[in-house]
């Protein structure tokens, strides 16, 4: 009785915070990739984006050197940068994840740029993206397609 009340209480405390499901996580070696998401596209003419969180539990730097996905022929690592009030995107060769650190590809900063889109990205579906790491090799994660107006992953990060 007491136990179930306590459990209900715990549940009630936890529930509001976890209205979303826990993020899909893929671990390979020291690298854990999670919260992969993208925005729905209108048709296939516009480039799509790819956002993700990468955690490095190892003792040395890891580098993300590229991405691959069947939905786009020209996927690239990009960074949005501001210069004198103007926004531009530049191609980045690599994204360094320091030891015991995490890096997020997120709106307004690093992002995967999915150009030459082969298929419209439809809200509610997922598609695979393979992240190419210098040391840990390729890591593939299912990427959730969220509405065009999404600003973050629709899941709880366990980080």
């Amino acid at each position: 009785m007491l136990k179930s009340t306590a459990a209900a209480l715990v549940l009630a405390t936890i529930l509001p915070a976890s209205a979303f499901a826990e993020c899909v996580e893929v671990t390979q070696g020291n690298i854990t990739v999670s919260a992969a998401w993208s925005r729905a596209t209108i048709g296939t003419e516009r480039p799509a984006v790819f956002y993700v969180t990468i955690r490095n539990d190892g003792g040395s730097d890891e580098r993300l050197v590229g991405i691959e996905t069947p939905v786009a022929d020209m996927p690239m690592l990009h960074e949005s940068v501001m210069e004198n009030g103007a926004a531009r995107m530049s191609h980045v060769d690599q994204i360094v994840i320091a030891p015991i650190d995490a890096v997020s590809l997120e709106p307004g900063g690093y992002h995967g740029m999915l150009m030459d889109l082969q298929t419209e990205l439809v809200e509610g579906t997922t598609f695979p993206v393979t992240l190419l790491f210098e040391k840990s090799g390729p890591v593939t994660i299912d990427t959730a397609v969220l509405p065009l107006r999404a600003r973050e992953a629709a899941c709880e990060e366990a980080l």
Binding site: R39, I42, S80, G85, A86, M89, M113, R151
Partner: protein, 208 residues
């Protein structure tokens, strides 16, 4: 001409640098009152009354700067092929509108496309239907857009990609004009969100 409204000529450059310096000072809080900002900025890019652009809205209506006098206006430059920064700006603005609640009724929000080739009124309408319905889109001929960017002191530049496609670098801040048509402030992409709504309210308060 089609390459866009890169600042033309020395006078434009001086005005643009002065403008940036003024905005920088504004942001760092060096300027205690707004009067000083408007003085530094001069009239170009700071006053709707002095602008002469004409654009077409996503609903197909012709719009001129003078039609915005009498209400607070938010203006920003972008394009619908922009996958990262532009949706972010649109979402930020949606948040501000929500926070303003009913007060946002007296507010007009305009996205000026820097990609008139692809962003026709129909394309803008289709794209903007995914965001807050109070955000309107403006586009025009390449010359009309260049004129508007020049008037607003905004810059944009078409950047070709290897595969024949292109992207457009562009001024990213949201300009806030008060009901008298004067530039009140600029909200930058990476500004602390808690300062955005007060900036808008300050412009609205000039509505007496």
């Amino acid at each position: 001409m089609r390459r866009g409204a890169l600042i033309r000529g020395g006078a434009g450059m001086v005005a643009a640098v002065g403008f940036m310096l003024a905005v920088g000072a504004w942001r760092s809080g060096d300027l205690p009152w707004q009067q000083q900002v408007t003085e530094t900025v001069g009239t170009r890019g700071a006053d709707l009354e002095s602008m002469s652009w004409q654009l077409t809205s996503h609903e197909g209506e012709r719009v001129s700067p003078q039609s915005w006098i009498g209400q607070t206006s938010l203006v920003f430059f972008g394009f619908t092929w922009c996958p990262d920064v532009c949706p972010m700006t649109l979402l930020n603005i949606s948040d501000w509108l929500e926070e303003l609640g009913p007060d946002a009724d007296g507010l007009a929000v305009h996205l000026v496309s820097v990609d008139p080739e692809r962003d026709t009124p129909e394309v803008l309408a289709d794209y903007l239907s995914n965001f807050d319905p109070r955000i309107s889109g403006l586009t025009g001929s390449p010359d009309e857009v260049a004129r508007a960017a020049d008037d607003f002191n905004a810059t944009y530049r078409r950047v070709p990609r290897d595969d024949g496609d292109y992207t457009v670098d562009h001024t990213a801040g949201v300009m806030v004009f008060d009901p008298d048509g004067r530039l009140s402030s600029i909200i930058d992409l990476h500004d602390d969100p808690k300062f955005a709504v007060p900036k808008i309210r300050r412009a609205m308060e000039r509505e007496v």
